[in-house]
Amino acid sequence: MASANQQLSSKHLLGIKDLSTEDIRLIFHTATNFKEVINRPIKKVPSLRDITIANLFFEDSTRTRVSFELAEKRLSADTINFSASSSSVKKGETLLDTVNNILSMKVDMVVMRHPAPGACQFLAQHIDANIINAGDGTHEHPTQALLDAFSMQEQLGDLEGKNVAIFGDILHSRVALSNIFCLQKLGAKVRVCGPPTLMPKFIHKLGVGVSYNVRETLQWCDVANILRIQLERQNIKYFPTLREYAQYFGINRQLLDSLDKKIVIMHPGPINRGVEITSDVADSEHSIILQQVENGVAVRMAVLFLLAAKG
């Protein structure tokens, strides 16, 4: 057993970049125990009964928001929900003012999604509550990376030396960046694959392999994490048509069947069926997309629990 008083090294979760490998392993260890909790007849524990958590979503979200809210409720925390579309943000209030107003109602933790990269970092410098980044622009989405790596580990055991490929829109993806940091800290080898126009300019500086050949990359990897084409962030054309993208970079059954090995298929959602992944792959026995969603609650419970413990 690891030492009894193990704690996270930080009181915020702003990005995977700031976490140590021990932090990640502690989160996974705790998440395993929470996974058992959420499969009990009574799925609730009283750990956070005196904690109030604000979920501030300045950007749309289904999975992450529901997952966080469920995790908070399973831990017995009180929650308040806020979305930018129905609030005073529309009247021109600044981020800091909005958050300070909410905090003056005695809130202990803030889960925030924001379209601006670094928004959570900014908050952490100015306010006292624990901040959890639920996605900041194209920067990081740490809980997604944690649940992805946790799900991979469930399938493959220790990730040391395993090959993980990330496909699709790397340029606009906070999931890709967090995944790269997280997987590298756990000793996995990472390769990114997508059209050259959707590859960040200095991607090689992160120590990842870059490929433009989907078939070759699928043959190399143990896990394929397929990302969504983020049309809402693409204000210029990065590829001619969705049909052409699907043809060259989409993953279909035929392609999977032509490999001489079985690989694990993941997708953080929401899926553009028929674009980056076809339905018969997304719903196949290779896919662990729904396990990812289940693990998301357990991993978020672990993160909330461990951060709340830091006070």
Binding site: M1, A2, S3, A4, N5, Q6, Q7, L26, H29, T30, T32, N33, F34, E36, V37, R40, P41, I42, K44, V45, P46, S47, L48, L75, F305, L306, A308, A309, G311
Partner: protein
């Protein structure tokens, strides 16, 4: 007082386990409606031993046996010194209308047992809950909780520390009383 003193040596340890098991059989007969639940992590070493002794030496055929982790139920959350390292919970049965024997190695303030009682509630409403402990530090209680089956009663000041060592981890079964908690680290 010496810095440390062995209060139960290996021979007496074995006798104590045997006696506790006989007491259980006297009370619960064939364990048809009774289950044993060890509190993680240290109570499980004791419950494991009790369970094995009942099955192997006292010929009890079937006992529901579970391990309960109470990390998420503790009342010292966000206080200094609180352990945040959870262990596995293995409860593949419900305790509804059953007799439950809750097992922990040392009964001290009673707060662990209180958390365990809360956790246990999540697996149904037991008929009756009894507590079995190897060591009862009876003068250090902070809650109205007492042990039904006790290995040894120890009267010690708050600064003292009682450590239970096990043959499979420490080489020998014994209970040691340290005059100062720091000595035990």
């Amino acid at each position: 007082m010496d810095k440390q003193r062995i209060i139960i040596g290996s021979e007496r340890f074995a006798l104590t386990i045997d006696r506790l098991c006989h007491q259980l059989v006297e009370e619960f007969d064939d364990f048809s409606n009774t289950c044993i639940v060890g509190i993680q992590p240290r109570g499980v070493a004791l419950s494991e031993r009790i369970y094995r002794h009942l099955v192997e030496h006292l010929n009890i055929q079937h006992i529901d046996y579970g391990k309960l982790d109470i990390t998420f139920y503790r009342d010292d959350f966000r206080r200094p010194g609180a352990s945040m390292h959870a262990s596995v919970t293995e409860m593949d049965f419900l305790v509804e209308k059953k007799n439950v024997i809750l097992v922990d190695d040392v009964l001290y303030t009673g707060r662990t047992v209180q958390a365990a009682l809360t956790a246990l509630n999540h697996y149904g409403r037991p008929e009756k809950v009894e507590l079995l402990t190897l060591v009862d530090r009876r003068f250090n209680r902070e809650l109205p909780i007492r042990s039904t089956f006790t290995g040894i009663k120890v009267d010690a000041v708050d600064e003292a520390y009682v450590k239970v060592e096990w043959a499979h981890t420490n080489g020998e079964d014994r209970v040691i009383l340290f005059s100062d908690k720091k000595e035990a680290q």
